[in-house]
Subunit: 120 residues, 2 copies
């Protein structure tokens, strides 16, 4: 059936969570939010575009940093209220300059940092 971004299930703010996963390594890179317009633009341009909740604006990932995400495959979950984006990531995905936002683990009741920021 023809895909229509408006048929996805959005929350009270018109958003749904989108998980970005590196298509080669399988690493989960980050989770951010999309509205219907962001979903549509991501599909049309092949450049992953989120909704910035802080700036209240569309956010083409990497537009400023150069750390863009090329969309390889877009997946929808069973409830149509969450997306999984298989992406080809340029540079680190995290604004802290780490390849993934999930660089902290909880082990033996303590937070442990697993990755250092990339140099430069």
């Amino acid at each position: 059936m023809r895909f229509d971004a408006s048929t996805l299930v959005y929350d009270a703010n018109g958003l749904l969570p989108a998980i970005a996963q590196d298509v080669d390594s399988g690493d989960v890179l980050m989770l951010a939010w999309m509205n219907a317009d962001a979903v549509q633009r991501t599909l049309e341009t092949g450049r992953v575009t989120y909704w910035s909740r802080s700036r209240k604006a569309l956010w083409v990932k990497g537009e400023v940093s150069g750390h863009v995400q090329e969309l390889v495959d877009l997946r929808i979950d069973c409830d149509h209220d969450c997306l999984l984006l298989k992406v080809r990531q340029t540079g680190p995905a995290c604004h802290t300059n780490r390849k993934s936002c999930f660089y902290t683990a909880v082990r033996d009741g303590r937070e442990v940092e697993l990755m250092a920021p990339a140099a430069g």
Copy 2:
């Protein structure tokens, strides 16, 4: 530093999204929601426990179906408002009896089903 589940950043409903990833295959299995109590119980029991938004109750994943998730590693993102759970999954993760909830792709503007439900 000592981990305290109450220091995570929850939304207006007291919830944050938690992504479950198969620790062996790297497949992203599902996204569900946790409150601070669910995070604490998951860490204490090693059995992944979500908050069911429909039932408004703690939900020990697999308690009814047997399709439990054993927690292998819990990761926190840079904003402390999202979790990544590395899990060992018994049976299919999805309530539709598929190994992952993300079994639909959008390709050439159409929805394509990538996985069939497990037999039995």
